[in-house]
Symmetry: C2
């Protein structure tokens, strides 16, 4: 348990002010004071310090009040985009996507490497990632030294605190300390994070959850992931791990345990088909879901049945998650959404049937097909949040003695 001293106090208030400036665009000191319960004096002191550190900028225009407002005009404050540069990446089994952003999280350059990595040795994957980061930096007209932090988002079970990847479809090995590896390669602080957590923060900053500090992300990619934002903080579970939704058990007979991944995992949906010809090629290249949608159009295709079953299973799982957490919004993301309405309708219907009556209106389901770039941007946001020096740990490991 952390003890409080003036330093912590300052850190907390500094973060609040910085966060207000980020969220409410250009904003005046008075308004920060009103919205944060801090005195104008304190806000002034903190903003002075932020200006001094070059994290924010002043702008003498953009006052939202009546143009004919009397009195001294407000000086608007906004983030200094150039205060930092970070690189975020999404590593998937069949592609790696990079995004370089400024301090505001705006993408300055991006890069996609369409490569199948899931059977490559770690050294080769590391090479690819290192190369991608370097290219992305060059594309933005920068050099690696200008980058403050790098954050890599990847599927599977990731231990954020240590940077260890417990298990992931992109690595053949388990317990890979990928953060350490990349930090020494790039000579820049490198964070490893679950891809679901990355897209969650992307939605929190820019997407469908800007207005919410509590929501759930269900990520339906090759791996089924879960992210849970609680009070604006990622909830990492007691062990500090990311969650693996695919391991959820849907039902079991005496002999057999049916896990969600066995019904709604990518390979489960697409793999049932005797992959042949054009479609097989698409699957191999990671375009399986998109192509599948076309095939499903003919409703009697066996894929249609698989899509229905997958939607049903995910709907059930989401109902259970809502039962446990009661989030106001559940955002469903990932390639599996490319299956189209047949899948999502089935999901919605199964959810509606499974959600208990008493909390039927608690949560709202939202589907979102963000491009890969958004995931990489989300990873960048993870990196930015470390720079913001949030005084609350993202998971708050309480070390009480």
């Amino acid at each position: 348990m952390k003890t409080a001293d003036p330093e912590l106090m300052r850190a907390i208030n500094r973060f609040t002010v910085l966060d207000k400036i980020r969220r409410r665009g250009p904003i005046s000191r008075v308004e920060i004071s009103e919205r944060s319960q801090l005195s104008t004096t304190t806000v002034s002191a903190i903003t002075a310090s932020l200006l001094d550190d070059g994290l924010i900028l002043t702008r003498h225009e953009g006052d939202i009040r009546n143009t004919a407002a009397r009195g001294r005009p407000r000086v608007m404050l906004e983030l200094n985009p150039d205060a930092a540069r970070v690189v975020g990446a999404k590593i998937a089994t069949n592609r790696i996507v990079f995004a370089l952003t400024n301090f505001c999280g705006e993408v300055l350059s991006k890069l996609t490497i369409p490569v199948r990595v899931d059977r490559l040795p770690i050294a080769v994957i590391s090479d690819l990632v290192e190369d991608g980061v370097r290219r992305c930096v060059v594309d933005a007209g920068l050099s690696l030294g200008d980058i403050d932090t790098v954050c890599l988002g990847l599927p599977g079970v990731v231990e954020h605190r240590t940077g260890k990847v417990r298990s992931s479809p992109v690595f053949r090995e388990t317990d890979v300390n990928f953060a350490e590896e990349m930090t020494s390669r790039l000579n820049r602080p490198t964070i490893v994070e679950s891809d679901a957590h990355a897209i969650a923060l992307a939605h929190h900053w820019f997407g469908q959850a800007r207005d919410l500090d509590d929501f759930v992300i269900v990520s339906l990619e090759q791996t089924l992931g879960l992210a849970l934002l609680h009070n604006g903080q990622l909830f990492r579970g007691a062990g500090g791990l990311s969650h693996n939704l695919g391991d959820l058990v849907l039902g079991a007979t005496l002999d057999e345990t049916v896990r969600l991944s066995a019904i709604a995992g990518e390979t489960a949906i697409l793999g049932e088909q005797q992959a042949s010809g054009h479609f097989a090629e698409a699957v191999r290249l990671g375009r399986g879901m998109a192509h599948a949608q076309a095939l499903i159009a003919s409703r009697d295709h066996p894929l249609a049945a698989a899509a229905l079953r997958a939607g049903e299973a995910v709907g059930l799982a989401i109902a259970n998650i809502v039962t446990l957490f009661g989030p106001p919004r559940v955002i469903i993301v990932g390639q599996t959404l490319s299956l189209g309405a047949m899948f999502t309708d089935s999901l919605r219907q199964s959810y509606a049937q499974a959600i208990p009556r008493s909390i039927r209106e608690v949560a709202e389901l939202v589907f979102d097909e963000s491009p890969d770039e958004a995931w990489a941007q989300g990873a960048a946001v993870v990196a930015l949040r470390e720079l913001y020096e949030s005084p609350w740990g993202t998971t708050g490991p309480a070390l009480s003695l």
Copy 2:
């Protein structure tokens, strides 16, 4: 978002010190300082204030070091048991149990009213509870004015923040503002809390989780409840609600949704029997589970099958919860445990089968058949925690590092 001022700072450190004194029995100032990272000066100042407020006492004995220790002897500090009196209660469908405790959470008097309340009007239930609290107070040689807070734990979905009972097997009505009702009746601040949360705090203070700040409670009573402690704080879900484990969906066919409560709820287990004679009477009086164990002893009794199925279902649900939260310990409590080894073995086996390999060793299952008194004591602890003035909201963000 909470802003920091000196007051918060003091509240945090004061709580830290008070909590250390509670947990570490009689403890000296130096030791508090060592264990809390606070300077001896600060500890001295805070303890002086606590002594001044009468919350702690000094004791000039019990130094744990060598009796032949040199130097000025340490003055041991401990909670002042008389600093507060609270009443906790567990309201179940067929009994109400009260416990009056001191500031340390030690039970001073207790009372059980064996009464079936689940079909009574609220006014009558309120009468019973009011009467029970008053008796319990008198039994302890006190008067109601000596009581600082009352906390009522009951099954179902409880909104702690507002004191509203959304739905509960003990009430026919839904959305009952029970806290308001009892506060005005007793003229004492009265808190309403989920019974699962109450027993969770009981275990945290006195039971199987004294050493842990992260654990999960699964409560198998008439209603299936869940409590989740994260960083020493109850996790109440985004809506501030308690969780209803019974609503979890285990599996579904097209026509039918199978919920946990339909397999492992008390009525589901016992109700399948054509209730007749002696056993039926026991069920009516709430002794069903205990009597069932005797019947199960003859392994071919239909109850045995029900117990097996229930254990299986609960084991599955727990595996899913562990998949999501990864707690180091899961404590399973409640009357259903009276079914005995047949039930618990089945649960363990099903859990072992369902838990993903990668997190197999993460969580440890513990069964605990605490008496009802422990639940009431837990409710009292809920009340005490309010008095301790924890500066973090029960669901608020944890301060890290």
